[in-house]
């Protein structure tokens, strides 16, 4: 009786533990097999080693692919965050004609399957005689990241209290000063969040990249190609390191914003 009673009371908690376990099983597996002494093919457990972590570039081309992904990610993030933030300010702070058309144009890339985005861009590049490669990938990533930046930053702008800006204007700040000293610092966390989202979308993108990259190898493309014959444990090292790095950035960001709020 007591056990069933406890179960009913904590049903949702039990469920949450199961849910989180499910979410983390492949992450834990990837992390565990980053220590596998498996050589080139990382299919079965062959013994513990730190060698893969000491030499993450040990497998051929893995760090070349990682470098390309980081370069593409950084350039796309800066461009998409800039372009998207401008649009978000126009939508969040101004009245103008063509508003609903703009909203539709922002929404459509998110509602289009990636395979269509990738295929249509590649078809256009080929028609124009542009070879797929680094810059076509950057162009594509900026394109699909803009919408996500707009949505994120717009939500932050909408949550601001307009009276803060009015107060600044009442204290004789001109519009530019108000923007620089009040609006921008308040929106900054939203912009930072959008940039983080854009980078992770770009870094993890495979489908659109695969269409437009030609001979350029990015990290997801490396993993996909290698998966046919077994991915090297170094790929697990990089995947796990990215996981801990991102987790660290997010938690640090939360702690900083909590301290500021206090």
């Amino acid at each position: 009786m007591r056990i069933t009673w406890w179960f009913r009371k904590n049903l949702i908690r039990v469920y949450m533990v199961l849910g989180f376990t499910y979410l983390f099983i492949p992450v834990a597996y990837t992390f565990a097999f980053s220590f596998n002494n498996g050589g080139k093919s990382n299919l079965v457990w062959k013994g513990f080693t730190l060698g893969n972590w000491q030499n993450p570039c040990g497998a051929p081309d893995v760090c070349l692919a990682l470098g390309n992904s980081i370069r593409v990610g950084l350039i796309s993030t800066v461009a998409a965050t800039f372009l998207g933030t401008l649009i978000a300010f126009a939508l969040g702070r101004h009245q103008f004609k063509g508003r609903s058309t703009t909203n539709t144009l922002i929404f459509l890339p998110m509602a289009t399957p990636e395979v269509v985005l990738g295929a249509s861009l590649l078809a256009m590049f080929l028609n124009l005689g542009i070879n797929p490669g680094f810059w076509p990938v950057v162009i594509a990533h900026v394109m699909f990241c803009i919408s996500f930046v707009v949505v994120t930053v717009k939500a932050r702008i909408a949550s601001l209290d307009p009276r803060l800006e009015q107060a600044a204007m009442d204290l004789y700040a001109n519009e530019f000063q108000t923007f620089r000293k009040v609006t921008l610092p308040l929106v900054a966390p939203g912009i930072a969040g959008a940039a983080l989202l854009a980078f992770s979308l770009s870094f993890d993108d495979f489908i659109i990249t695969n269409f437009n990259s030609g001979t350029l190898t990015t990290f997801p493309k490396f993993v996909y190609v290698a998966s046919a014959r077994g991915i090297p444990p170094q790929a697990n090292v990089i995947g796990s390191a990215m996981f801990f790095l991102a987790l660290f950035i997010v938690i640090a960001g939360q702690l900083v914003s909590r301290r500021k709020a206090r």
Binding site: I25, P26, T112, L117, M124, V142
Partner: protein, 297 residues
């Protein structure tokens, strides 16, 4: 009062002077989206009605406005087409069933750990989704632990596999799109005032009735947003089918990909892309109308 008037007129004159400002802010990003999203889609529409040139070179096509390309493309790939939508539908329903209690627990039952748990929902997705999909393939695969246990206790036969099957593709998609379901659900559940649920309890509704009559209706915007964000990428996905499936689980995305790269049949790939996009947009529009949350678009 005079001061207020003066301030008011100053603001309005500034607004008039800067009526160009919103367009200046929009221009760069909108031009980008127009050039690299709208134009390619228009170009794709053009490609979709082309036919091979007379000299028969691979990959060279001319415009003949052959709309029968669409019929051919659809009839040749009926199976993959329906499979895409069935798999995406199943993955969406499964993801909703898994994510709703999770989002509910984070929103109402986690107290001061709410933010931490929210980070943990997104955290797995910092590991490359390809690595995670391959991890599932190995966990469920022939050399993995799950199959040995299931065979050991005779739940599945010696010749049955978990990977290279429709089951694996659908579960892979469910897993990969789970955060797209969980986050909007959480956002709409978190906005619910707990007092509305207490009020239902005060009016003698039991837990189930409270959920059915109060919590669920109030969380509908999250359900709609989450199902859309899961269904759309799932219907166009080909990576899960490529890694976890077999030749009989190919989806439309796989066909588009191979038409493009392996057969260089651009018109068919274009016609299929367009059909997929149109089908998704029609389904989404009907769904949003039915669910009654038009503010989403």
């Amino acid at each position: 009062m005079a001061f207020l008037h003066a301030a008011g007129s100053k603001v309005s004159s500034l607004k008039e002077k800067r009526s160009l400002l919103p367009y200046l802010l929009l221009a760069p990003g909108i031009i980008w989206l127009f050039t690299f999203f709208v134009l390619p889609i228009a170009n794709l529409a053009r490609t979709s009605t082309q036919t091979p040139t007379a000299n028969g070179d691979t990959g060279s096509y001319e415009q003949t406005f052959r709309f029968a390309n669409y019929v051919d493309a659809f009839l040749d790939n009926k199976e993959q087409f329906s499979r895409s939508f069935i798999y995406a539908f199943l993955a969406t329903v499964l993801a909703l069933a898994i994510a709703y209690p999770l989002a509910y627990g984070i929103a109402f039952k986690s107290g001061k750990y709410k933010n931490l748990l929210l980070v943990l929902v997104v955290a797995p997705f910092f590991t490359s989704f390809l690595l995670r999909t391959i991890a599932w393939k190995q966990i469920l695969g022939e050399e993995g632990p799950v199959i040995a246990v299931l065979r050991g206790i005779h739940i599945i036969g010696e010749n049955t596999s978990l990977t290279a099957s429709a089951f694996a593709v659908v579960t892979g998609m469910t897993y990969n799109f789970l955060p797209f379901m969980t986050l909007p659900l959480y956002a709409s559940l978190e906005r619910i005032d707990p007092r509305t649920m207490e009020a239902a309890g005060d009016l003698y509704a039991n837990a189930f009735t409270t959920f059915r009559k109060v919590t669920l209706p109030l969380s509908m915007p999250g359900v709609v947003a989450g199902t859309l964000l899961t269904f759309i990428p799932a219907a166009g996905d080909y990576v899960n089918a490529a890694i976890l499936g077999n030749p009989n689980t190919k989806m439309l995305g796989n066909v588009i990909e191979s038409r493009f790269f392996k057969i260089v049949d651009y018109p068919t790939a274009a016609a299929l892309s367009f059909t997929l996009m149109a089908a998704i947009l029609i389904l989404v529009t009907i769904y949003i109308r039915k669910a009654g949350t038009e503010e989403l678009v």
